[in-house]
Symmetry: C2
Subunit: 218 residues, 2 copies
Amino acid sequence: MKFEDIPTPAVYRLSFYLRQLEAFQKGDKHTISSKQLGDALGYTDAQVRKDLAYFGQFGHPGIGYRVEELISQLRKILGTDKVWNVLLVGAGNLGRALMAYHGFLRKGFRLAAVFDADPSKVGQEFGELKIESMDRLAAVAGEEKIKLAIMSVPADAAQAVADKLVAAGIRGIMNFAPVSVSVPADVSVQGVDLAVQLEQLSFKMSLAGAEVQMESGK
Amino acid sequence: MKFEDIPTPAVYRLSFYLRQLEAFQKGDKHTISSKQLGDALGYTDAQVRKDLAYFGQFGHPGIGYRVEELISQLRKILGTDKVWNVLLVGAGNLGRALMAYHGFLRKGFRLAAVFDADPSKVGQEFGELKIESMDRLAAVAGEEKIKLAIMSVPADAAQAVADKLVAAGIRGIMNFAPVSVSVPADVSVQGVDLAVQLEQLSFKMSLAGAEVQMESGK
């Protein structure tokens, strides 16, 4: 099977399995069954086995999964067995929240550079990071071999920034702007639309009422 | 079909369809085909028809979809045909970014109150919002009939805050803390783990290399 044929939700669940395995590891648990892993996340054991089977054969008969081993295999699959250098464009409130977020490095991502179009922000320091001007983007991305970028810029700046990132050799973009951007086919974009997340919640919260209506409309 | 039986990814795509339809509406487009809607988002027309069919019969023979009509139907399904009052706990950088984010109201969500555990932040004003102390949470949620909450708090505070939200009558929580929280079965939690999004990108970016390995390993 080609990785491209694996359903996107299964790849998402891989991240959640990894997160849960890391929690087991912290709790000094060294082997687990698919049922234990599923129970912790609200999935059936069959779902866990099916998801993992897309990526390889990880279990050991009579033992289950070895936690450390499965963690390192999942990290390899997700590409986080090495540390990715990431650059950030946009040092507004959200950008600063991302700069202060210590979870990235633990997950294999290192914020290596920050850029902003606002001259009054250029030169400001945040820990080891100094905000640089947009003119420096291509040079820094090249020097530090950065392939991943996070955009936390206003909607009306998003496409122009995406174009600059692509021109600078960036191949993966996490886009927080509430708008989609066009990129060449060999560049991946992961949009993070916060309103979409809220809509999913309001959908779930509307479920009870909707079902009553559907039932009574039979 | 019960709404609970609809695959979660189809509900996600509903948000993207809605977003694209709103863009068509802005562009003064009043009818569209499933192919046009799919093309704009990178889905096949069959996918579009299948996804929408979970929720109802929306097309008109020989016309396609009426944009305004489909928008209002999707909003109704997603529960955003009315405005939800939302409260926010945690007025750090991320919380302030969320307060400054103007996309919510347009999508049917109104930030009605903000709380923080830090006494030095209580009383600070952001536009029409004033940060309130955590002691006020239950009272304000009750007065304003708030059922949805956003948590942008540190990992070690997340469970205690979630417990307070549930006790205050909150039924949907968007969790930005990089940790899962336990809630009763009738409360929905939408976790937003930024590292998961980055992992999905690094997976896609690792695809090319991985496929070469798989091919040569045949």
